[in-house]
């Protein structure tokens, strides 16, 4: 079995879903002949036809709205938003309808749709192409928000998102799209949408992260290991709903926690995790929870993007700070 990237794993999961479920429809801007600007949908139109893999007009509100309509009719739409920076026109549809259709109709009409978008910075892209605004979606009741950080998880979580009977926003960390390779058996097996994944075992401090930041976080953990500091690294993966149990168990073990995310700090998902740790884990905590995040500034254009995004160094500094305390 060949090793594949996250991007290829996304492609593989989409192909698998198109193959297995006749109700799956894949669409968005440039997803057809072009195979998506990152090639996530490469070859799918050729394989599954222009009726199931479609280029849409350039209109994100419409993309979300039509996905909802399709889902209401029992299709399983998988819509692509080209970059997370262009996802905002979908918000009205997502918060007013996708998340509410089942509730509003007491289960008569459901909305099994997936909205995919590459997200995050670090690829020297133009303005608006480096957004990490997952917290906006994490605040919406009725939604699932899922972020893979490895080829295996990209495959398994995307299949899970497509199989899920409710709406899922699926954010793909584009900086690591091609960064690592793994053997990914194309077995059609979904991964669970309600658990964090433990990436590394350690007893001194818990590092909680997701998306491309798993990369910096694992690097930090490795460097810290060399200094004799053992890190428990958790990839939250499904940031809504949150699997706090796993996080709390880890913190019960380590007594210390650093949360790492790329998004702006204020009202980011890290705040929710930190708040719940303070609520339920106060007795286990030996030190204040640290958040290493993007700043509360506009994501700068690429000359400064590395100054904005959490670095291995910033994570290590935060870990050491929690170790100094108490």
């Amino acid at each position: 079995m060949a090793e594949i990237t996250i991007l290829e794993a996304v492609n593989l999961a989409l192909a698998r879903a198109l193959e297995e479920y006749p109700d799956v429809v894949v669409f968005g801007e440039d997803v057809g002949v072009n195979g998506g600007v990152f090639r996530a949908t490469e070859g799918l139109q050729k394989q599954y036809g222009t009726e199931r893999v479609l280029d849409t007009p350039l209109a994100e509100t419409m993309i979300a709205g039509m996905a909802i309509g399709m889902a209401a009719q029992g299709l399983r739409p998988v819509a692509e938003i080209q970059f997370m920076g262009f996802i905002y026109p979908t918000i009205e549809q997502m918060i007013c309808h996708a998340t509410r259709l089942r509730n509003r109709t007491r289960g008569r009409i459901t909305c099994p749709m997936v909205l995919r978008a590459p997200y995050g910075g670090g690829i020297h892209a133009p303005e608006h192409h480096s957004e990490s605004t997952e917290a906006i979606f994490a605040h919406m009741p009725g939604l699932r928000v899922v972020i893979p950080s490895s080829p295996l998880r990209a495959y398994g979580l995307l299949l899970a998102a497509i199989q899920d009977p409710d709406p899922v926003v699926f954010l793909e960390p584009k900086r690591i799209y091609r960064m690592m390779k793994q053997e990914v058996p194309d077995d059609g097996e979904a991964l669970p949408l309600d658990v964090c994944f433990q990436l590394r075992d350690g007893t001194d401090v818990t590092l909680v992260t997701w998306g491309a930041m798993t990369h910096e976080t694992l690097q930090a953990a490795e460097q810290l290991e060399a200094e004799g500091i053992g890190c428990d690294v958790l990839d939250v993966a499904t940031i809504k709903p949150l699997d706090m149990e796993t996080i709390l168990n880890s913190v019960a073990k380590t007594g210390r926690c650093v949360i790492v995310h790329e998004a702006a700090r204020t009202c980011g998902v890290g705040a929710e995790i930190a708040a719940q740790l303070a609520e339920h884990g106060l007795l286990s905590l030996f030190a204040a929870v640290q958040r290493v995040t993007g700043y509360d500034t506009i994501m700068p254009m690429f000359k400064l993007e590395n100054d904005y995004m959490p670095s291995t160094e910033r994570i290590i500094t935060a870990v050491k700070k929690t170790l100094e305390e108490a």
């Binding site: 429809v25 009726e51 199931r52 849409t56 007009p57 209109a59 509100t61 419409m62 993309i63 979300a64 709205g65 039509m66 996905a67 909802i68 309509g69 399709m70 889902a71 209401a72 009719q73 029992g74 299709l75 739409p77 009205e92 549809q93 007013c96 309808h97 089942r102 509730n103 509003r104 109709t105 007491r106 289960g107 008569r108 009409i109 459901t110 009741p141 009725g142 699932r144 009977p165 409710d166 309600d194 709903p241 949150l242 699997d243 706090m244 149990e245």
Partner: protein, 366 residues
């Protein structure tokens, strides 16, 4: 250089259909269905029933037995024509004034009352599996309609998706994005713009400099036409044609139905702040029910006895619906968690427990 020297590369026309004038007289040949007394009676009955329902609903709101309600007074012909022309397997995406269409499609009057009574169960539509519930965020249902129509097209079903929206709604971008997709993908879809002259306090002319709303279709490259929305025969006719066209693969149509909102925007509104009663009164002369009644009297021996019997029957139906509404068992507070996802995520269990516990305590305490 004047326009004459430029090359004309595209031409468009917008047409208008009226079959009965305001006196209830034929102004053109009537379509086949209008020869059937049963059909005309069905249309008439739906309009009368909807109006009977309407005034009862307003009364419920005024007496504190229901929340805000949006009246369809004066506009009954539009939704009646739509609902009558559609097949059951079609899908309707209504706003909050298409009761007449919803009733014909299996939605119970008691469900509509429950909805305005602040209860999600009013959108469960026991007898209507596919239709979307009332859409409050303006025009958001147009792209959804396109998605539904695409599902039908993909599955090669002979079904049509129909969405209805107001004159004000035509200013919103998703209306345009939706009709543009309908054109681009040649979807089996009919979009009806109910031009009732008002969007709350904002008159139609403030919405757009376009002389008709039907011409918005030209931007999407689809046919657009205007119809007298107070002439139920014309409405039913134009709607049928559009549905047939869509059903047989002919693509989408935009229909602008001209009518008038006779009541306040909703029971929370006070239209006297922004429009003259005299203008409203003038529009009374165009009333759709009066118009069909005149036609029935002149052509089908309709009389006061029949009229009274019909009103009594409608009143009885409405009465039954109101009783059903008022007898609705209370909704358990914890149900707010039960239709959020197919399966309640663990993360929400403790919140649900809290609400359930409190609900039981309060019940216990009463």
């Amino acid at each position: 250089m004047t326009n004459e020297e430029k090359k004309c590369i595209a031409k468009f026309e917008i047409h208008y259909t009226q079959l009965l004038n305001q006196a209830g007289e034929r102004v053109g040949p009537l379509p086949e269905f209008a020869a059937s007394y049963e059909t005309l009676l069905a249309l008439y009955r739906t309009m009368v029933q909807t109006r009977t329902f309407d005034s009862k609903a307003i009364a419920l709101q005024r007496t504190g037995k229901m929340g805000t309600y949006s009246s369809s007074l004066g506009q009954e012909a539009v939704a009646t024509g739509i609902g009558h022309a559609m097949l059951f397997e079609d899908v309707l995406l209504p706003t909050y004034r298409e009761y007449a269409a919803q009733f014909q499609r299996g939605v119970a009057m008691s469900e509509i009352l429950r909805y305005w009574g602040g209860d999600e169960r009013g959108m469960a539509y026991a007898e209507q599996p596919h239709d979307m519930p009332i859409t409050v965020p303006i025009a958001t249902h147009v792209p959804q309609c396109a998605g539904i129509a695409y599902a039908m097209k993909l599955r090669k079903e002979a079904r049509v998706a129909v969405c209805v929206l107001g004159d004000g709604a035509t200013s919103k971008g998703d209306f345009y994005e939706g009709i543009n997709l309908a054109g681009a993908w040649q979807l089996p879809m009919v979009v009806v713009v109910t031009n009732n002259h008002w969007a709350i306090s904002v008159p139609r002319k403030v919405q757009s400099h376009a002389q008709t709303l039907a011409q918005k279709a030209i931007a999407a490259g689809i046919p657009g036409e205007q119809v007298d929305g107070n002439d139920v025969i014309a409405m039913r006719h134009v709607m049928s044609n559009a549905l047939e066209k869509a059903r047989s693969g002919g693509g989408p149509t935009l229909i602008e139905a001209i009518t008038y909102r006779m009541h306040d925007h909703t029971t929370a509104d006070d239209a006297s702040r922004y429009r003259e009663q005299a203008i409203v009164d003038e529009h009374k002369r165009l009333d759709p029910i009066d118009r069909l009644r005149k036609y029935l009297i002149a052509n089908h021996n309709w009389d006061d006895t029949k009229e009274q019997a019909l009103h009594d029957a409608c009143a009885a139906d409405v009465e039954a619906a109101v009783n059903s509404y008022l007898d609705t068992p209370p909704v358990p507070p914890e149900s707010m968690f039960d239709y959020l996802y197919e399966t309640l995520p663990d993360a929400l269990q403790s919140q649900r427990d809290e609400v359930e516990r409190r609900g039981k305590q309060q019940k216990g305490g009463d």
